[in-house]
């Protein structure tokens, strides 16, 4: 049943991504100031939203672990964090390529980019920490604390374009600005891709969770081997 559900999610994500690529590349026109490069926005923003939402969910499950000390929540938080980290890398790389054309540089130490870079370092630390600590409860506790730190920085990332004058463009989405900052067709294309990226993220988290289950089975088998 679970396998079938995963295949269904994969199929929907695939269809959505194919449909979105068709619309973005062949149906939508170029933008006046940015020309064709604006299309990177339709990958950059969905990856950022999917990863940001993932980090938030990881915070919730980390909190759940600290409250109830159930390793199931820790496994879920770790799986979501790893997938969100991959999506955050997509955000960073696509943003950098866009910046090369629009700003003329690959990278600028402006508040949005710097805080995002720090955020990635924190979550990279989270993933490395999990590899070096073998004891499950210590690993889960320290990971949960680091997840909280990471999310505090993510709030700074989110608000940085409002708090400081940044090189990074200000808010453009209608839900934040009330509309008028972006062409509705372009915004709609980005939202469709948000849906596709969220589906893709669900699929990857499910794959990653299966590994956590396998790992738990391996630990149990190891204990049996030691007993025998």
């Amino acid at each position: 049943m679970r396998e079938k559900l995963l295949y269904a999610v994969a199929l929907i994500a695939g269809i959505l991504l194919a449909r979105n690529l068709y619309v973005i590349l062949l149906k939508l026109p170029d933008e006046a100031r940015q020309d064709a490069i604006w299309r990177i926005f339709t990958f950059h923003l969905p990856a950022a939203i999917a990863s940001g939402s993932g980090f938030f969910l990881a915070l919730v499950f980390s909190g759940a672990y600290l409250a109830w000390r159930n390793l199931k929540w820790d496994a879920l938080a770790a799986s979501i964090t790893e997938v969100s980290f991959a999506l955050a890398i997509v955000t960073l790389v696509t943003g950098s390529i866009w910046a090369r054309i629009i700003w003329g540089v690959w990278w600028a130490w402006d508040p949005r980019l710097t805080s995002y870079f720090i955020c990635l370092l924190i979550y990279a630390g989270y993933l490395m920490l999990r590899r070096v600590i073998d004891e499950p409860t210590t690993r889960a506790r320290l990971s949960a604390v680091l997840s909280i730190f990471g999310f505090v920085d993510l709030i700074v990332v989110w608000k940085s374009i409002e708090w400081w004058k940044t090189l990074h463009p200000g808010p453009v989405l209608s839900i934040r600005t009330g509309g008028g900052r972006i062409d509705p067709n372009m915004e709609s294309a980005a939202w469709w891709n948000v849906l596709a990226f969220v589906m893709l993220a669900i699929l990857l988290v499910a794959m990653r969770m299966r590994q956590e289950e396998t790992r738990r089975e391996i630990d149990a088998l190891r204990r049996v081997v030691h007993t025998v």
Partner: protein, 152 residues
């Protein structure tokens, strides 16, 4: 004659309430591009005015006051739009368009780099997930065999 004068005088305040958006559509050498469709769409009412550029590439549109998206149709490449152009009564806003083929190629190339990079990151992650899963399954099978042989 009196009626015509009266009509003219009545029309004057209406004419004075319009704003003007003008400019030039050029290629990357600065030469004007004729017969390009230029439109101005009011961002709140969605009312659109359109005109074709003159032989020297220039255009002039009379519009009601408001915020406008001014766009040109570039043959074979779609619409270029500049948003948030504020048209004010009695004032002229100039919006020039430079339709450069040279910049487009570089821009297009980087757009594909961006798409490629995004997919590459995701594909690498999926490959790492799959290989990790295989390694874990192999580890589990080995342990299961070990437990069974020990029990025997």
């Amino acid at each position: 004659m009196t009626q015509l004068t009266l009509l003219f005088l009545l029309a004057l305040p209406l004419a004075a309430q319009t704003a003007t958006v003008n400019g030039k559509v050029m290629d990357d050498t600065g030469a004007g591009l004729p017969d390009i469709r230029v439109s101005a769409t009011n961002q709140s009412t969605k009312v659109e005015r359109e005109i074709r550029s003159d032989p020297d590439g220039s255009y002039t549109l009379g519009v009601d006051p408001g915020m406008y998206a001014v766009a040109v149709d570039k043959p074979g490449r779609g619409v270029f739009a500049v948003r948030d152009i504020e048209a004010v009564v009695g004032q002229t806003r100039t919006v020039n368009f430079e339709l450069s083929a040279r910049t487009d190629n570089r821009n297009f190339r980087y757009m594909f780099y961006g798409f490629l990079a995004a997919w590459l990151v995701l594909v690498i992650y999926v490959i790492s997930l799959v290989s990790r899963e295989r390694a874990l399954r192999k580890q589990m099978d080995d342990l299961k065999r070990m437990v069974e042989s020990e029990r025997r």
